[in-house]
Amino acid sequence: MEESDSEKKMEKENLGPRMDPPIGEPEGSLGWVLPNTAMKKKVLLMGKSGSGKTSMRSIIFANYIARDTRRLGATSKMFYLIVKSCDLNLNNTLGCSNLIYHICFPVDVEHSHVRFLGNLVLNLWDCGGQDTFMENYFTSQRDNIFRNVEVLIYVFDVESRELEKDMHYYQSCLEAILQNSPDAKIFCLVHKMDLVQEDQRDLIFKEREEDLRRLSRPLECSCFRTSIWDETLYKAWSSIVYQLIPNVQQLEMNLRNFAEIIEADEVLLFERATFLVISHYQCKEQRDAHRFEKISNIIKQFKLSCSKLAASFQSMEVRNSNFAAFIDIFTSNTYVMVVMSDPSIHIPFVESVRMNWKDQP
């Protein structure tokens, strides 16, 4: 089936690439060729409008550095406009219950379907805003939104003046989760911590964490304090991703065996889309405690440069007289980085060992 007129109009107006629709649209309806949504588990990224979700998402997934996110506009406003215009252009045969809409971001994002770890799709939702249209829409689609959810990440703006209201919306999301996806893992991010005075940060975070833990019962939530201006955001998302990997202990054991065979100093496993460190093994004490975030950032910056030339990097080898590091594709979802302090080791050796290990069950 062809694209509907409203869709064509949307693309013509240059409103950016299409996103996965956040609700589970049945496949094939209205000519929308969907990936099989039944297979995909959702990661919901929710929070009040302006709490920092879009920036977060851009930095972790679409490879924008912190400075660029200031140019991102308000997501929900854009969403509202799109849906409204869709409304007006709708053919009567579509009917009200089958609204098609796009969530378009004002800035062109690198991936139109943000996927990671193979089959997880990221969906972003504003909730608890002033917008009554949004409110109604959200309420009416609640069950669809909260079905099939693997992970809920809820973002709280630490500077928010409406704590009561924030908690209220959070709790109603939890209710929906309990009903529709009771096994989902819950993470709370207390965000924009850079706006809090440094000596106050621990205190304020502990307070919030206690409140959230209390309010979330019987569900359990893990809390993190984050800011896009330092490494805390990465640490939080790394921890989240770590908990999503099915057999991470097994993976770590294999990694240790691998590292021991090749006598490496350190072996890191990265998720491919975000370059978050999923797992690591270290044999030698390393000086830099923040190196995971730094390496992630370094590689992502480079990936961004490559993408400007419509290319992506496949493998990397860096040496000086004290070390040799190899970064290469490992599985369909991961990259591996091997660091040796004996720089006389040659690539073919490392590669052959890696190949052997990949074939192991």
Binding site: D265, R291, Q301, A310, M316, R319, N320, N322, V339
Partner: protein, 279 residues
Amino acid sequence: MDFFDPTFDYEMIFRGTGALIYVIDAQDDYMEALTRLHITVSKAYKVNPDMNFEVFIHKVDGLSDDHKIETQRDIHQRANDDLADAGLEKLHLSFYLTSIYDHSIFEAFSKVVQKLIPQLLTLENLLNIFISDSGIEKAFLFDVVSKIYIATDSSPVDMQSYELRCDMIDVVIDVSCIYGLKEDGSGSAYDKESMAIIKLNNTTVLYLKEVTKFLALVCILREESFERKGLIDYNFHCFRKAIHEVFEVGVTSHRSCSHQTSAPSLKALTHNGTPRNAV
């Protein structure tokens, strides 16, 4: 900069200067800037007529392409008119469109620095020979700290691949800073054995090798050519030796005579550089 301030000894400053870079804000009204430009270069020219005069038309990231060209043309016209009126037609101004939000500023600085290097022709020749014998597409001799390149081979420079190479240097230095220092934190990230190979998914290979304490050679080549890595490394070994000799000659002749002529001839000097291990 106030030229009429008696504590500002511009004579002394300008005499030892090889190039003067004057920056004009393209997003602002540049009339006053042009006036000051004229005063500055006239004064400098009187003291040192051999100086290179470079004008950076800066902050052009906010302008459309047409506007950029128009601005450059306008500034060029006005500046040269001012000079002609003052009888200084021999004074040559070079203009560059720059912005910090892309690599144009690095490119401009690279060109300015290149004009000041007496050995430039020799370096270019060496690069040409090296790349044609090794099957390399393009090579830059970069200063690793500032990421401006002091020489490249004769094929045209593509801005995007230049950016990629700057970023490659960043990656190498950053990763080396994390893992490449000795246990007690001594040593440096960039040392004699520094090298990197980055393979992209479109059969492009980026190859970086240390040349001197400050310079790195960054090459771009195809994966097929990279299969002859042994040959490339041997050629690089000869190239590196030659570069060291060029700069050694530069140092000795600078000491003996104060005026640099065109590229000095290569002398077979023994030098105590570490012999590279041919792979």
